[in-house]
Subunit: 269 residues, 2 copies
């Protein structure tokens, strides 16, 4: 197919790409931005549809870009070649690499999650910072979680900084957004124990049993766990802190707890 070439900074397609940085536009269009070689590669690997791919050779950092573009086109992406200036206008990153895709949003519900015999799930509440949510997804991927459930999120999953901070893991870890009360109901119906981290807990996270069907519950950055999860979790646990009270943020606490569960569950042996 012939590639459409965009040179005018006034081109409406470019304006739309800039609009997609805003949540309202993303939600209205049910679309989102996937910027960068690594992220687009991972989307294609995971069979995530890329509807449109915008590229500018002037920004390429390596030599693999043309084959990635060909692969995206073969998978159905419409291609647009941009001048250096035009790409600079739409690039979200400080150091663009000349590749920007638009993908349709998806919506998974709890019933889409495939559960093994001993599910290992991470539940995070009301996360505010996209960078933290992206890091949490990476941690869940590394730990081998079966799913990440995001309750009442402040940031949306499709924020460009979530895509980026997740390094594309967003495309591989099953991730569902749902209200807390429905999540609790779903976990209980499946006999999945809930272990919630909170500084007020008596038990150390390393002394709590983290084997069997398990959901680890993490609160938000600013407020910690909500009353709802504090009251309804099966077991509160704490992470010991030697230094300043805020040295561990929610993403760091999630990582520590997940890997203690990995240890107890004998994963990776």
């Amino acid at each position: 197919m012939p590639v459409e070439i965009i040179t005018s900074l006034q081109n409406p397609r470019l304006k739309r790409l800039v609009r997609l940085r805003d949540r309202r536009s993303r939600d209205e269009e049910r679309a989102f931005l996937v910027e960068g070689y690594r992220e687009i590669r991972r989307a294609l690997e995971k069979k995530v549809q890329i509807d449109e791919l915008y590229f500018s050779k002037d920004w390429f950092l390596g030599s693999n870009e043309p084959s990635l573009i060909a692969e995206a086109e073969a998978a159905g992406a419409k291609l647009f070649e941009l001048t250096k200036d035009a790409f600079a206008k739409v690039a979200y990153r400080e150091r663009p690499d000349g590749l920007l895709g638009v993908a349709p949003q998806w919506q998974r519900s709890l019933s889409d999650i495939l559960l093994p015999k001993d599910p290992f799930i991470l539940v995070v509440e009301a996360i505010e910072k996209p960078g933290n949510l992206g890091t949490i997804l990476r941690s869940a991927d590394a730990a081998g979680c079966d799913a990440v459930v995001v309750c009442d999120p402040v940031t949306d999953l499709f924020n460009p900084n979530v895509v980026r901070a997740s390094t594309g893991v967003l495309f591989s870890v099953p991730c569902v957004v749902e209200e807390s009360s429905r999540v609790l109901e779903w976990l209980r119906a499946r006999g999945i124990r809930t272990v919630a981290t909170t500084p007020a807990a008596k038990e150390l996270y390393t002394q709590a049993p983290l084997t069997g069907p398990l959901a680890i519950i993490m609160g938000s950055e600013q407020y910690g766990l909500s009353e709802f999860w504090l009251k309804n979790s099966d077991l509160p646990v704490r992470i010991p802190m030697a230094g300043q009270a805020d040295s561990l943020n929610v993403a760091m606490a999630a990582l520590i707890t997940l890997f203690e569960a990995v240890r107890q569950r004998g994963l990776g042996r």
Copy 2:
């Protein structure tokens, strides 16, 4: 003392503050920037000298700023009040809070580190990203490390992003910069075992003994551990990875390994 008021954007003091963002200027002056309420508060708590404090009421976020400024002045800081525009010029952060200090750099050497009976040390090699180094300092603080030793750093300790990402922990965790060969010599002379994380290791980090005198060695973001530390470490260990190979970055791997050591050492009980 009367407070000097700066209104001109051409004031040489403002130009100097902007220059201190660059490592060369920092190194020449042996000074660095401490921006933000939390960071300045922690510097004062830890008796770190603040030579100069620049503030602008127009950017204050709360009501505690005047008492912090008074405290800094009592501790010897010279005060400068800036207009909103003048502060915008010197602020390094995207969302300034109207407080920017200048502090003299310090230099600690290995011989300055006070070691307890069973030292618990983190050694990091050639870290490139200031954000990672700052996060690593937070992790070491939370885990109760006796010192962080930074070998052959690419980023300097006094980079504004290290100060920021460390949330001021830079002022409390003993942190030394030294060449790898001298660090190894120092560790060996003190009978401190070196455990190095590398994906090529056979042993899981959870099955390796992390009690007693211990130094955990972490490689750089891009290249991992150097030949030097691979060859000279007492025990290589690996972290199990369920997902994509790069889901864990160096800061995340350091955090996981540190908290496994905390568990084995029975800290926080």
